[in-house]
């Protein structure tokens, strides 16, 4: 109904029609928007920017952005400028992750797909990328299946498998703490595989699992689990939860004084978690997948400075994952002299990262027929305060991921790679 007041007020029907039109435009846009310039090489990253993994996803995207800037400064990929498109996959909704991946591939015509922090979402996205034949780099999703049972020729992973993590830290745990282990495990793909890996590795060293609990992802209050852990009287309580769950669990465990009765440790630790803990909770033996404070590593200072310029803080492993992901795309394309996914995938078999990308003491390369990056794992102790504000980890052992005792054999990984003809 037309409004007779002096102030122009949109009437309800017009408003509703406009809203519907806008909504339809959003859905229809792939068909309406004209083809983008074919000169740009596009990298599409679908990573969590909201939710519990937002910090990790954001840091990976910043690392990748730095890589793309450096790549462009050096002339781009095969003479063409590179562009990074970032989409929010959410922290746990596989449907959205798949939808964004399809959007990046079908609408934005990306040459490379990157993602996901959440292991389950990484697997879902790998299904899409394999279906579409797009080269896919998983910077930070850890579950074994990505380069194991569900491996694909077009999917490469930067971060460690959970088996590698378990093998790397097991001996430090048994040597330092004892034989009786209680597990607090997140109840999803990542948690199950890292627990299984640790049980096997620790058993080989004479330790045993005396009990454990599966905590739902996103558990806020760990008291019930800690109560049970205390009743079991282990030597060590292993915290396999990640991200905010780990912060909550450790904070509460230390508040309850459990660190005075038992050892608290785990497998994967991340600098984001250490930074979020109060000083008294920065304890225990853990592993980091990459650390910024390494002596005698060339090109490291440049990388640390590059990230500090963007964020004001030192880089974490997540920044490095994103950085390696971006550079892998460029280096693979350069080696293959082609942007075709199959050519690049073949060029990346047993491909070793150059020192300015590897940024670690040992060789870092993608194992052939598994597409898994084997590199250095940093086992050590969390510390409350260090020489620098972000120096919160004391590296005790540099473990070489390429060592078959750590990486396992190709058969053990369960990956049977099939190549398209």
């Amino acid at each position: 109904m037309p409004n007779e007041t002096l102030a122009p007020v949109v009437d309800r029907r017009t408003f509703v029609k406009t809203a519907l039109a806008v909504g339809a435009a959003t859905v229809a846009s792939p068909y309406i928007i004209p083809a983008r310039a074919a000169d740009v090489v596009k990298l599409g990253m679908a990573n969590p920017l909201t939710g519990t993994y937002a910090a990790f996803g954001k840091n990976e995207s910043i690392g990748c952005q730095l890589a793309v800037e450096e790549i462009n400064a050096k002339g781009g990929i095969l003479g063409r400028q590179a562009q990074l498109i970032i989409e929010d996959s959410t922290s746990g909704d596989a449907g959205t992750a798949v939808q964004k991946s399809r959007k990046l591939i079908d609408s934005d015509h990306v040459n490379f797909l990157l993602g996901n922090v959440n292991s389950a979402l990484a697997l879902a996205m790998a299904g899409v990328s394999n279906e579409k034949g797009v080269l896919h780099i998983d910077p930070g999703g850890h579950t074994d299946a990505v380069t194991g049972k569900s491996c694909h020729w077009n999917v490469f992973r930067v971060c460690n498998t959970t088996a590698m993590e378990a093998n790397a830290v097991a001996s430090a745990l048994v040597k330092s703490y004892g034989k009786k282990f209680y597990y607090i495990t997140p109840d999803y793909a990542y948690g199950h595989t890292v627990e299984a890996g640790l049980i096997t590795a620790i058993k080989k060293l004479g330790g045993e699992r005396i009990g454990g609990d599966l905590a739902p992802l996103g558990t806020v209050d760990f008291s019930s689990y800690l109560i049970k852990a205390q009743a079991a009287k282990p030597d060590v309580i292993l915290f396999l939860v990640a991200g905010n769950d780990l912060i909550n669990a450790l904070k509460q465990a230390v508040q309850f004084g459990l660190d005075k009765k038992f050892h608290l440790a785990g497998a994967l630790m991340e600098l984001e978690v250490l930074e979020g803990l109060p000083t008294e909770a920065r304890i225990g033996t853990w592993l980091l997948e990459w650390y910024w404070n390494q002596p005698n590593v060339p090109h490291l200072d440049a990388f640390v400075a590059g990230i500090k310029k963007k964020t004001g803080r030192v880089p974490t492993a997540r920044h490095w994952f994103g950085y390696v992901g971006g550079w892998t795309c460029a280096l693979g394309a350069e080696k293959a002299k082609s942007l075709k996914a199959l050519d690049i995938a073949k060029a990346l078999q047993d491909f070793a990262l150059p020192p300015e990308v590897a940024l670690g003491p040992n060789k870092a390369y993608y194992r052939a027929n598994q597409n898994q990056l084997l590199d250095t794992i940093y086992v050590g102790l969390a510390k409350a305060k260090g020489s620098a504000p972000d120096d919160l980890f004391d590296v005790k052992t540099l473990v070489n991921g390429a060592d078959v005792a750590i990486s396992g054999t190709l058969e053990e990984s369960g990956c049977k790679m099939t190549w398209p003809t």
Binding site: Y225, I227, K228, Q255, K261, P278
Partner: protein, 289 residues
Amino acid sequence: MTQLILFNVFNGLIVGAFYALMALGLSLILNLSGVINFAHGGFLALGAYFAYALIPYVGFWGALVLSPILTGVVGLVVERLLIRPLYGRDPLYGLLLTFGLAYMLEDGVKYVWGPQSLPFEAPTWLMSSLSNDYFFLTGYRLFMILIVVVAVAGLFGVLGYTRLGMRIRAGTRDLETVSTLGVNTRLLRSLNFGLGVYFAGLAGVLAAGQLGLEPTIGDGLIMPSFVAIIVGGLGSLVGTLFGGLLIGVVSGLTTVFWPAASEAVIYVMMGLVLLLRPRGLLGEEGRIV
């Protein structure tokens, strides 16, 4: 096994007390204004982050006093600008608004302080463990119970003995008549909303000591608050208090036997209550909102 169960009952009461604190604020707003405040978790996060920002200047105790007040003021502003125009309309409008507001608050907090977890340092002597032979008692949890008791007592005191409280109670029964008696109902609703959000802010400061401080800190706490209100009974503050404690205990006990179900069990309880006694355990019959 009995010790384990006892531990968990006690622990559940503590967790439940915290849920009750959140739920009381939510219930206040719901009863008087008829607004389902989905942004309550966002205000909790705001309270936590305000405390984090204030601690370097006024210390933990200063932040404990000031941060909820600041959050309450933000609540007042939100009510005046955003919620007041929606009174008298379909409750769906209020729900949609607060739903969007929740996202705005979370993203706003993320924009200002970043998505990563921040280290929240409560006083060390408070954080230490007092006893874990009979139950997990830390100084912090004792402190939390104390704050909840004081806050709840204060709330019931205000509601029972002050003029404002009397008007709020009268307003939840019949706002129109209260308005014809000369009470400024607009101001009343604003103050009531501010008071509810004050409780969210207070819960936020307490939560930051126990949990990692990051933008989604309110997400895991808002749903149990809603369930506490439904289980305890719409329209009854005592019911909400009781509902919070009950779901805390049940959730804690479930973790002993079936950890995967510990989150789901509170919704099962909600389902049972809705089926068997829709008004809630202590709710008033016929209460719609």
